[in-house]
């Protein structure tokens, strides 16, 4: 009799060719390098609720066509978890990105960012235009257009008398029911049918950061107001591609459209997609990004 195993430990389609840490002000972040063909695609970290494994459907593909650098943002994965709101501003993430580029000998790169990755991606492109060939922003969570109204009903800081829906996006709820929050949040992130595996993956990554740390990273993001960010966008000179799902339940399509408008970029609307089209429709998204990378290289 032969015995086959259906389920095994998670493996990777491709392993990094090089990995390491960069340290800034005592905070270490972890990076990986795959492939070697120019240009370099720098996969930016997103909000610390996830780490770089959310790019797992991009890395093996782009590594065959380009050089890929990915890193875990502070707060999750193999990066440090500093305390204090000041450690999680868009300036810190942009500075980490630049430090990773320096450490890996990456003179220029095409940036690819998910959600709030657009905050530090745009900042990096504005302040270091000589290092950035282009920017791809997937479902950007940028304060250039109003968010979904249902997310504005409840206070994040106050103790609420309900736990329904977006009332779970609340400091007290996170501290007391963190895993339930993650399940709710990623359920809204993956609104496409048949996303149970993607939700399970994301909840697992979300559990790698403590709710106390996630609260600080949330509060840091809140500091980036629309006026400040508009000025950043006005200084972006490189080509920009924005991909946004028209069923994104975390950040509406209007935000992606506004970012494309503010940076003179191109918007591609992905019909039926939620907040992570690169995870649920990787082939389509990879082809769009590859076309863009080849057009700016």
């Amino acid at each position: 009799m032969t015995v086959l195993e259906a389920r095994r430990e998670q493996t990777r389609a491709r392993y990094p060719d090089e990995e390491g840490y960069v340290e800034r002000d005592g905070v270490k972040v972890f990076y990986e390098v795959y492939g070697e063909r120019e240009p370099t695609v720098l996969l930016l970290p997103t909000w610390s609720i996830l780490h770089s494994r959310h790019w797992k459907m991009q890395i093996p593909y782009f590594a065959r066509h380009f050089r890929v650098v990915a890193f875990d943002g502070r707060g999750n994965g193999k990066a440090d978890r500093p305390s204090g709101i000041g450690a999680y501003t868009e300036h810190e993430f942009a500075a980490d990105s630049l430090a990773v580029m320096d450490a890996t000998g990456t003179e220029t790169a095409v940036l690819v960012g998910l959600s709030c990755g657009a905050l530090w991606g745009a900042l990096l492109a504005a302040n270091h235009s000589d290092r950035v060939l282009g920017g791809v922003f997937i479902c950007p969570s940028v304060p250039l257009a109003p968010g979904h109204p249902e997310r504005d009903v409840h206070s994040f800081e106050d103790r609420l008398d309900t736990e329904d829906g977006w009332a779970k996006y609340n400091r007290h709820y996170w501290l007391e029911h963190y895993e339930e929050f993650l399940e709710f949040f990623f359920g809204r992130m993956f609104t496409e049918p048949h996303s149970t595996k993607q939700i399970e993956d994301a909840v697992g990554w979300g559990l790698e950061i403590a709710p106390e740390t996630l609260i600080e990273s949330h509060e840091a993001l809140e500091l980036c107001g629309s006026e400040r960010f508009s000025h950043v966008c006005a200084r972006v000179r490189c080509p920009v591609l924005v991909l946004h799902g028209d069923e994104d339940a975390l950040h509406p399509l209007a935000r992606g459209a506004a970012l494309a408008g503010a940076t003179g970029g191109r918007l591609v609307t992905l019909e039926g997609s939620g907040h992570c089209p690169h995870v649920r429709d990787p082939v389509k998204v990879n082809l769009l990004i590859r076309d863009f990378v080849e057009s700016v290289a």
Binding site: L4, A6, R7, P193, E200, V268, E271, G272, K284
Partner: protein, 299 residues
């Protein structure tokens, strides 16, 4: 602005058949498809009428590249007719349909692959027409080996009006006629015991809805290898090599029934740890490689 259409367009296929057609026996038309033109031919038999040949969708494009693949829809579903007489669903009829498709497609000899209840017709075909069957692969075979244990013992009361709809009590003629979709959803959630199977369940429920409760009841009343003795006797007449693949977490038929089929036919048994009743739908790469190795070992 560019708009890229969503995934939820009409389902397309990785590969379309190179030819298709119908065979007709006693006024009942059965639909078949042929893919590729290599050798040998692998015939993917229909399983229970609750689904049709699309459940082989992850096998057909692969075997079309490495062999010649043929499949047919069972009487009662897909593009085949839906006779109302239960006699039309005897296992000998399904075996005769398969033979008619081999004739119609000019196929002298084939490796046959069956799922679940398809094991009955596969055994009959291999026993009665050994010259046409080069080998037989059985996935999660459903044969009368051993008694039904709890909670499936209630299946013996298929014809009775029950006072419950809970769990396997849904496997009941009256419940099917009352809430066919409810039965399909329950049944396929049991078939796919692996996590992250929502797409496979949705597909199967959709295929189930292409037939109806009355037709499925008629198919249930068809005669097969319904006793242990008849199954054992038929197994004893099998001369071709056999391969049995059975998931260890099969909630429809326990894996030791598959092991017994392998023993009775002198075949190879592969236990698929952690897999449910349709491992070819959930772990297509592994199952395809196993079948391919078996097919090539016969050449």
């Amino acid at each position: 602005m560019t708009v890229v259409a969503g995934e939820r367009a009409e389902q397309t296929r990785a590969r379309y058949p190179d030819s298709e057609g119908y065979v007709e026996r006693d006024g009942v038309r059965v639909f078949y498809e042929v893919y590729g033109e290599g050798a040998p031919t692998v015939l993917f038999l229909p399983t229970w009428t609750i689904i049709h040949s699309r459940h082989w969708k992850l096998q057909l494009p692969y075997f079309a590249r490495h062999a010649r693949a043929i499949t047919l829809d069972p009487r009662g579903n897909g593009r085949s007719d839906r006779p109302s007489d239960p006699r039309a669903y005897d296992e000998t009829e399904f075996a005769a349909d398969a033979l008619a498709v081999l004739d119609a497609t000019g196929t002298d000899r084939a490796v046959i692959v069956s799922l679940s209840r398809g094991a009955h017709r596969a055994l009959l075909l291999a026993a009665e027409h050994p010259e046409r069957v080069a080998g037989a692969v059985f996935i999660g075979p459903s044969l009368p080996f051993g008694s039904l244990d709890e909670p499936r013992a209630i299946l013996k009361r298929f014809d009775e009006e029950l006072d419950t709809d809970a769990g396997w009590a849904k496997y009941n003629r009256h419940y099917w006629l009352r809430d066919f979709t409810g039965f399909l959803e329950f049944f396929f959630s049991q078939c796919f015991s692996e996590p992250h199977s929502t797409k496979q369940i949705e597909d199967c429920v959709g295929w189930g809805l292409e037939t109806d409760a009355e037709t499925l009841v008629a198919s249930e009343d068809g005669v097969g290898l319904d006793s242990r003795e008849s199954a054992v006797e038929t197994c004893a007449r099998i001369r071709c090599p056999t391969l049995v693949i059975h998931g260890s977490d099969d909630r429809i038929r326990p894996a030791d029934h598959g092991a017994e089929l392998a023993r009775l036919t002198g075949g190879t048994f592969v236990s698929f740890e952690g897999a449910g009743h349709l491992p070819h739908a959930r772990y297509p790469v592994k199952v395809n490689l196993l079948i391919r190795e078996f097919v090539e070992s016969l050449a």
